[in-house]
């Protein structure tokens, strides 16, 4: 793999494009309008073709304007079909963009004799050819596409920066925005205009369908990683830029690695694939919303429940047999609590380390500290039973299940509030005594459940 100066230009162009897309994409994703980007990017085709047929030359400005007009028209038409025809939004989008695409295709084929406009080029771009077409820009020789995209990025930054508050409010709460005197539909069309401009500026570089990858995927990654809009936008831009760099690098590196010769693969395609990969990683590893984080917190919760169940079971046994400490066989306990052996083993290890249980060979018994914790759990359990029976009028044989779940998420404040709320707080509905709060017996060192 060899890196040339034009590779840097390719990456810069891609990065500019990805950054301007990601900036707008964040709002599209939050407004649940991602597919609008798809529709607009498909339907710029007739705008380009019409500008071609009218002017008869490949002047960028005419094509640019034509495509932008049709892009905005797509948004308008979708809205009209949706509201005048009472059609589902997805369907109205589908009707509008496929029709416009078909019209564009016919126009291009008609024009194909006279001008060279490859429909394939419109769909998946030719970012590799970008460095060939250069212009003089503020004294430097830069690719024309890079200059265009830099201007578009500046426009996007300026507009989003200026209307940041309005965009934010209309994205999250259009009704509130309206009551505050912000015109939500004006913001909608402003955003659509920006999307159209950005799409058209980008299509030459990365093609009209891959624009949507840059619009949506980085923003979606960012949404998985954070809950704050400002951070989200910055993250989305960063992911977009990373996609461009990694995408181009892998486009150069992958074909030789697969033994397919030295020619590089499609950079825009690789950018989309990179974005998809980053997205997959984000789904797995995002700190709060990632699958792994969710599984982990669920598993930790299960572990805590098992720990507390072990202590509760030992306490109840001591209560029945009227002697302490009582030892219980580990295997018997595992089957009784219906937990997996692995989970039980880890839970017991935790409890031993904290000094809540002793471990004679193959058996367990409560220590004094463990007993205090167990008291707290059992007290929560029985108070819940009493509360559910008396205040919520559940029959006595139906209260065990809910209490079994609630005991794990009851902190001392809630537990004592329950004790206040239950008139008969000495015995639960099954006639078992409710133990005194551990704080009153000795110093309860740790509460059983974290507060919710």
């Amino acid at each position: 793999m060899t890196w040339h100066s034009y590779d840097t230009w390719v990456v810069v162009t891609g990065a500019l494009c990805a950054a301007s897309c990601a900036l707008l994409g964040s709002f599209l994703v939050l407004r649940k309008m991602s597919m609008m980007g798809d529709a607009i990017s498909h339907s710029v085709l007739p705008g380009l073709a019409a500008a071609f047929l009218l002017t008869g030359e490949r002047t960028s400005l005419a094509m640019f304007l034509g495509a932008v007009v049709v892009g905005i028209l797509t948004a308008l038409l979708t809205q009209w079909v949706q509201s005048y025809g009472r059609v589902d939004r997805g369907a109205s989008m589908g009707v509008v963009f496929t029709t416009l695409f078909a019209v564009g295709l016919i126009m291009i084929v008609q024009a194909a004799d006279r001008v060279d406009l490859d429909p394939g080029c419109v769909l998946y771009g030719a970012i590799e050819l970008v460095p060939i077409d250069t212009i003089q820009f503020v004294g430097f020789t830069v690719p024309r596409a890079a200059a265009t995209l830099a201007i578009v990025l500046l426009i996007n930054i300026a507009v989003v920066g200026f209307f940041y508050k309005e965009l934010k409010i209309t994205s999250f709460d259009p009704a509130l925005a309206t009551t505050l005197g912000i015109n939500a539909s004006m913001m909608h069309y402003l955003l659509m205009t920006l999307v159209a401009v950005t799409t058209v500026a980008s299509f030459e570089a990365i093609g009209s369908i891959l624009v949507i990858a840059m619009l949506i995927v980085p923003a979606a990654c960012a949404l998985l990683l954070t809950d704050r809009l400002g951070v989200m936008i910055l993250l989305a831009v960063a992911v977009g830029v990373a996609c461009s760099a990694i995408g181009h690098a892998s486009a150069i590196a992958v074909p030789p690695a697969l033994g397919l010769g030295d020619l590089s693969a499609s950079t825009s395609g690789m950018m989309a694939v990179t974005a998809g990969t980053i997205f997959a990683v984000a789904i797995l590893l995002a700190p709060r919303h990632g699958l792994l984080a969710k599984w982990l917190s669920l598993w930790l919760l299960r572990l805590r429940v098992v720990r507390e169940d072990v202590m509760g079971l030992l306490y109840r046994l001591e209560e029945i047999e009227h002697r302490r400490p009582i030892t219980l066989d580990v295997r018997e306990m595992t089957t009784h609590l219906e937990r997996s052996t692995l989970l039980m083993r880890i839970a017991l290890m935790h409890l031993t380390r904290k000094g809540y249980i002793q471990r004679p060979v193959n058996a367990v018994a409560l220590t004094e500290a463990g007993r205090r914790r167990a008291v707290s759990i059992v007290r929560s359990h029985r108070l819940w039973e009493s509360y559910l029976h008396e205040q919520a009028s559940l029959p006595a044989d139906h209260v065990h299940g809910p209490a079994e779940r609630l005991e794990h998420i009851t902190d001392p404040q809630l537990r004592e509030a329950l004790a206040e709320a239950v008139p008969a707080r000495d015995f639960d509905p099954h006639g078992r005594p409710v133990p005194e709060a551990p704080e009153k017996i000795g110093n309860g060192d740790e509460e059983p459940g974290r507060s919710m």
Binding site: D38, G85, V87, L210, L223, L263
Partner: protein, 511 residues
């Protein structure tokens, strides 16, 4: 027989009807299926039997006729396959639209590109013919369904919504497809040229085996749709109920997706992956404007799809420079626009027309009520007016004008149209008098208005000063049955021409 027994009996009867309903539906479906089979056999037999005439047509008109009536062998193939494809697309698309999943076809078709590339690469690597169509289409089918699976996964396991899931899968799969096609073109063995035609389609080069494939697939789709008709209907309209009576909505969704995927795959070849979306969405959406009944809608969508296929590919055959796929979609869009405007069930013009008529009826009723109330205020108001009294008194324009916030022109127009319809007569210079017909209508409207007011006051605990506005809106839409129930409730069912007293002062609110 006690009330309980009666209830039980009707309940049983209902249940029996429901039970009987299911097999009968099946029977109808099987009959329709047999019909479709016969029809398709007949059509193909007919198509084969038409003599292929010599292509020496000398006039333009002959050309058109040749193509429209399928006299040319090649055209016959193209037109036949696109029409069948359109019909299948319309049928399956109807369910997709009602399930509010129209855009999933977008994802499905874009996600098929990597499958085509991968299938080609695999085939060439193992020494097979990379361009074997069934293999490529199988690859497309697998990767398309994989894409839909990804959409469902993202929607179920992340906080992202539907639209983002669709966009992500669509664009990433398409990008992957472009990369794979790039690789395929670089494979040393086997030429990959032509793989790209899947993006735009190449209906002009359809050969007989393609027609057979499309026909067979479309037939299978039609049969499967009819077999699962009841299940799919329930899935679209009441998913929860379907789940509650023990069906698996997920399984039915899978069936629907599989049907859509199959149609998309065969459509890829002839109209291309972007335009096949149109065949799935547009005919169904267009048919929706014509009817509120599912069966008719599906038949309509099938017909629109088939017609678009037929007309579109015929038109494109007329001129050398028209891509068939795109023309088909444009024809489809033409049907859509006509439906959007004129469709009797949901079209824009019928709806606007209905609105105009309702508005004018409301305005007429306002005029009549104003007349009544003015005449009533001239007496002492203690006795209800009868039609003959109403016809004797005339009312001036100046008296009517302050009754509501209507402009002079508006009131004048309404008065004129009421005179035309025989509700009013002119009684001197800008004075008007109710006719017999008008008097009865006025009594009916005022009576409905006051019945509703009394009902609101006595049964909904609303203050007399607040009921006028509500009654003003509802008086125009009270049906006969509702009026009868109100009469019964309020003890006003003796005389249909007796108008109760107004529960509040009239005219005071506006002056």
């Amino acid at each position: 027989m006690s009330e309980q027994d009666k209830k039980q009996k009707t309940e049983n009867r209902k249940r029996k009807v429901f039970r009987r309903w299911i097999p009968r539906q099946r029977l109808v479906n099987v009959l329709v299926m047999v019909f479709v089979l016969c029809a398709s056999f007949a059509t193909s037999a007919f198509a084969v039997s038409i003599p292929t005439i010599d292509h020496a047509a000398n006039s333009n008109f002959d050309d058109i006729l040749n193509i429209l009536f399928l006299r040319d062998y090649n055209t016959r193939l193209v037109v036949g396959s696109t029409a069948i494809l359109g019909a299948a697309g319309g049928m399956v698309g109807s369910f997709l639209l009602l399930r509010k999943r129209a855009l999933i076809s977008d994802v499905l078709s874009h996600a098929m590109l990597p499958g085509i590339g991968a299938a080609f690469i695999l085939a060439v690597t193992f020494g097979a013919n990379g361009k074997s169509l069934p293999f490529l289409l199988l690859g497309a089918l697998v990767s398309g369904l994989l894409g839909v699976g990804c959409v469902l996964f993202i929607r179920a396991f992340t906080r992202l919504k539907d639209d983002a899931a669709l966009g992500i899968v669509l664009s990433v799969f398409f990008g992957l497809g472009i990369v794979l096609l790039g690789f395929a073109q670089r494979m040393p063995e086997g030429s990959a040229a032509g793989l790209q035609s899947f993006i735009y389609g190449k209906s002009a080069s359809i050969i007989q085996s393609d027609l057979l494939l499309i026909g067979a697939v479309a037939l299978a789709v039609v049969i499967a749709t009819l077999l699962f008709f009841k299940e799919l209907t329930l899935l679209c309209f009441d998913e929860q109920f379907a789940g509650a009576i023990g069906w698996r909505p997920v399984l039915m969704d899978v069936v629907l997706m599989a049907l859509v995927a199959v149609v998309t795959v065969v459509g890829l070849q002839s109209v291309g992956l972007i335009l096949v979306i149109a065949l799935l969405i547009i005919p169904a959406t267009a048919a929706r404007f014509w009817t509120d009944r599912l069966r008719i809608m599906i038949i309509g969508a099938t017909v629109i799809g088939a017609l678009s296929g037929w007309l579109g590919s015929s038109i494109s055959a007329l001129k050398p420079n028209l891509p068939a796929g795109a023309v088909i979609v444009v024809v489809c869009a033409g049907f859509f626009i006509v439906s959007l405007l004129f469709g009797p069930a949901r079209g824009a013009i019928p709806r606007v027309w209905l609105q105009v008529r309702t508005n004018s009826r409301i305005a007429r009723q306002h005029v009549l009520r104003a007349m009544y109330e003015i005449i009533e205020s001239q007496g002492d108001g203690s006795v209800a007016l009868d039609p003959s009294q109403l016809q004797r008194t005339d009312v001036g324009f100046d008296e009517l004008l302050p009754e509501r916030s209507w402009s002079q022109g508006h009131l004048l127009r309404k008065l004129r149209s009421a005179i035309q319809d025989g509700m009013l007569t002119r009684a001197g210079d800008s004075r008007y008098r109710l006719t017999a017909q008008g008097a009865i209508e006025a009594i009916r409207v005022v009576r409905n208005h006051r019945l509703w007011e009394v009902f609101l006051i006595t049964h909904a605990d609303i203050a007399p000063s607040h009921v006028d506005r509500d009654a003003d809106m509802i008086e125009h839409v009270l049906g006969n049955e509702l009026v009868q129930r109100l009469e019964k409730r309020l003890g006003e069912d003796r005389d249909a021409l007796h108008v109760p007293q107004s529960p509040h002062r009239i005219g005071g609110a506006l002056t």
